[in-house]
């Protein structure tokens, strides 16, 4: 066997281990730099970054499970690396990247990602084959450092006048796309929460990656929302996510299309866990019935804490704001 063949074989074996379902089409000309295969995502957006080893590739297309095609534009700036941000569906997402030479499909690489949900049953626990992988380690950042400034350019305590100046913005801009956005997120003061600190539930992962968020996250939230903590701590009954300090279960810390950055509109959100309380279609039609769109759950129940059973507040008035009139 010639030397050339040995190298080729090595290449194939390497890609074969990376891509479990390797096809007959060669993969050596293309490489997905990131994400790694079988990565778990906690946010809906994934940036697929592809490196072209074969310079003759004229077109690169990303194809999702549902056969949506996203062409990757090859620009002069990045002649061998190109990237595309996709919105993931909940659960498993199979992604294929095709490289064309002229009109002919020459290379294919595949990757499988898992978008885990905080609230949707069935998607809260990914299959064991998937793994947590964090990009922001010194080693990984080196890959991008040629073209991107990977440092944190946040000035302590001062938000960006123009958020596009933020080094984080370039890759993560999609997370603030919602109608309502959390101030630190939309101002790209990322390090106010993403400080690499950890809490009880992820203590071992301190500093890995550099921008790790503590779990439970509440300690980061209460740094600003300290008055809420005082208010809730005084109450007898606390909603489990509140007690566990997992604010992000209901609230998206970056942005959402719903007020208070909750992940869904009140009733839908509540029923994600409390599905047994779902009203029959007949009852839902009656607008006076509690639990309908007009009479949301939060009209009677305080989603955080209360002095009373079932988080009921007997002194409540008819208001949409759950925290009004709490004694």
């Amino acid at each position: 066997m010639s030397r050339k063949n040995v190298i080729r074989n090595l290449f194939f074996s390497a890609t074969a281990t990376l891509l479990l379902d390797s096809t007959c089409i060669a993969a050596a000309g293309l490489e997905i730099l990131y994400p790694v295969d079988k990565k778990i995502y906690h946010e809906a957006y994934a940036s697929i970054t592809v490196k072209l080893h074969d310079r003759n590739i004229s077109k690169v297309v990303i194809i999702t499970d549902s056969n949506e095609r996203y062409p990757l534009e090859l620009t002069k700036e990045c002649d061998d690396v190109c990237s595309k941000t996709l919105k993931l569906r909940l659960g498993e997402n199979g992604i294929r990247v095709w490289g064309y030479k002229g009109e002919k499909l020459a290379y294919e690489v595949k990757s499988e990602l898992y978008f885990v949900s905080q609230i949707d049953k069935g998607f809260t626990h990914p299959p064991v084959t998937y793994r947590e992988h964090s990009f922001h380690t010194d080693e990984n950042e080196k890959i991008c450092a040629d073209c991107h400034d990977m440092s944190v350019n946040e000035r302590g305590g001062t938000a960006f006048m123009n958020v596009e100046e933020s080094n984080c913005y370039v890759c993560h801009k999609n997370i603030t796309a919602g109608k309502y956005a959390h101030a630190p997120a939309v101002n790209w003061l990322c390090s106010s929460c993403h400080g690499g600190k950890s809490a009880d539930q992820n203590k071992k992962l301190t500093g890995q990656p550099k921008y790790r968020v503590s779990d439970p996250v509440a300690s980061a939230c209460y740094r600003c929302h300290d008055k809420n903590k005082q208010r809730w701590d005084a109450k007898k009954y606390k909603h489990l996510p509140v007690d566990a300090g997992r604010c992000v279960k209901c609230h998206d810390p970056h942005a959402s299309d719903t007020v208070m950055f909750v992940r869904e509109v009140p009733n839908v959100l509540c029923l994600k866990c409390h599905g047994d309380k779902k009203l029959s279609s007949q009852m839902r039609g009656n607008s006076k019935c509690p639990g309908t769109e007009a009479e949301t759950c939060t009209r009677c129940h305080n989603p955080h804490a209360s002095y009373h059973y079932f988080f009921l507040d007997t002194a409540r008035t008819h208001t949409a704001d759950p925290d009004v009139n709490i004694r």
Partner: protein, 502 residues
């Protein structure tokens, strides 16, 4: 002859007792004149009379109080009138200068020169005359020497003065002419129309001959500009209200040590303003310039005169910037105060009191009380340090000038009232009149800004600085602060909340 004069004296006594009251009224002015007359009478009585006597007018004769003169003759010297000195001064501070006794022997040796025979330059005679001059005792100071008929007895003038005026000025600080023996710089040795034989038309005129700003005097270090529009009343009245012209234990020849108390002696009981002593000592937030500075009141005020209201050294803003051109430490909490000078330099749009310091409510003192206040930042009225403040029933200093309706009206189309509207919806009201109403300072910088309407570039929320990202448009504008995404407003074509209401 004795009999003749004696009878005359007795008649005069009878006549003039009735004039005692009148005599006392202007004793100061006429006193020296009367002494002269009395001495003349006395010498005539003892020496058998002399036809070259003083001319005594009937008026003067009428006012003569023989008893008084006799007492003074007996005492030989007359202590100085001390009633002019401020009553607050301690006794030892009063300059108790002895009035000199004129040496009779000199008089007997040389024949006195008659006032009529004085050189022409001394005529007409002035109101106040040096006693030896009046007596015609020129020889006390002058002696003919060669060609010069009026050569001085001694080379140095002050040596001649000190022959009689034996009080030496030996306190810590001497007035330079006193130190140099230049008595005649201020005093005329012969006669003057001004009390104390001063060379100027008044006390102040004498002082300003050298200390005036345009005097051009070379060896004077302290020039005083008394031409200013606003004058310190005591300074206008007389320099000697505060200064001693000869010597003092305190710098700048002041009668008391420079400091708060010196000024407060008067400024705690004036009708024009509040009791400063009480105010300064009672306020919660004190101004360092008043309490902790070197020159106290004089850090800001000119003690003499200036062209700025309240006799400030510079205009009401510049005076403050003399110190606030650096970040200073607050006395109360140790926090650092804003470097206003730099702030104003970096931000071209200034709040009106700063822009127009001499106008109504102008200058820093329009909002801050430079003598201290019970409100933080020595503000004249209350304010908040918080981002959130429910403005209901709040007496914020902003509303001293800005109409409260600016924020209370829910709908308005009045551009005078507020231009922060989307259509007719008053966005001020929307931001402010709420459970979580934002205070004025959430969006506005009280001093200066790069943006129109004093909109801040950064607002402090939870000790993080968030930019407001304000953009001005002809009929409105937009903001993209931390509080919400980019919201636009337009007075003519409503773009946001105004659409619904319209």
């Amino acid at each position: 002859m004795i009999k003749k004069y004696g009878a005359k004296v007795i008649i005069l006594v009878m006549l003039l007792i009735g004039g005692i009251a009148l005599y006392q009224a202007d004793a100061g002015e006429k006193f020296s004149r009367f002494i002269g007359i009395m001495k003349e009478i006395g010498s005539n009585l003892s020496h058998g009379g002399d036809e070259q006597s003083l001319e005594v007018s009937d008026e003067e004769l009428e006012m003569l109080d023989v008893e008084q003169i006799a007492r003074d003759m007996e005492a030989k010297n007359i202590s100085k009138d001390i009633s002019a000195a401020p009553t607050e001064l301690p006794k030892d501070e009063i300059r108790n200068e002895e009035r000199p006794t004129h040496i009779k022997t000199t008089l007997t040796v040389a024949k006195p020169v008659d006032l009529k025979d004085l050189p022409a330059k001394f005529k007409p005679l002035k109101k106040y005359m040096h006693e030896p001059f009046k007596m015609g005792a020129c020889q006390i100071c002058h002696v003919p020497k060669g060609d010069n008929p009026a050569a001085l007895v001694k080379n140095n003038i002050h040596e001649i003065c000190y022959e009689c005026h034996k009080t030496k000025y030996t306190k810590a600080y001497d007035h330079k002419p006193v130190k140099n023996g230049e008595c005649t710089k201020c005093h005329d040795p012969h006669q003057s129309d001004t009390p104390k034989m001063l060379k100027g038309n008044s006390i102040n005129d004498t002082c300003l001959k050298c200390h005036g700003k345009r005097s051009g005097a070379k060896d004077v270090t302290k020039f005083i500009d008394m031409d200013g529009k606003f004058k310190h009343k005591p300074a206008e009245k007389s320099c000697l209200e505060c200064h001693d012209p000869h010597t003092s234990n305190y710098k700048t020849l002041l009668k008391r040590e420079i400091g708060l108390e010196f000024c407060l002696d008067c400024h705690s009981s004036l009708k024009e303003h509040k009791d400063m002593r009480k105010w300064i000592n009672s306020v919660r937030y004190k101004h360092g310039a008043v309490n902790n500075s070197k020159n106290k009141c004089l850090e800001c005020h000119d003690p003499h005169a200036s062209n700025h209201p309240n006799i400030l050294k510079k205009d009401p803003v510049q005076t403050c910037l003399e110190c606030h051109n650096k970040s200073l430490k607050a006395d109360e909490d140790g926090g650092m105060l804003l470097n206003i000078s730099q702030h104003l330099k970096e931000n071209p749009n200034w709040h009106k009191p700063i822009r127009d310091p001499e106008g109504k409510e102008g200058g820093c003192s329009g909002c801050h009380d430079p003598h201290g206040s019970d409100n933080f930042s020595i503000l004249r009225k209350s304010f908040t340090k918080n981002f959130y403040a429910n403005l209901e029933n709040k007496d914020f200093f902003c509303f001293k000038c800005h109409k409260e309706r600016k924020i209370t009206e829910q709908y308005t189309t009045d551009d005078e009232l507020t231009k922060f509207r989307d259509g007719d919806v008053n966005l001020h009201n929307l931001h402010v009149n709420d459970r979580k109403g934002r205070s004025c300072r959430a969006c506005h910088d009280e001093h200066a800004s790069k943006y129109k309407h004093l909109i801040r570039d950064y607002t402090d929320f939870n000790s993080v600085k968030f930019p407001l990202r304000f953009i001005d448009t002809p009929n409105g504008g937009s903001c993209a602060p931390a509080c919400h995404k980019k919201f636009e407003y337009d007075r003519v074509n409503p773009k946001g909340i105004g659409q619904k209401s319209g």
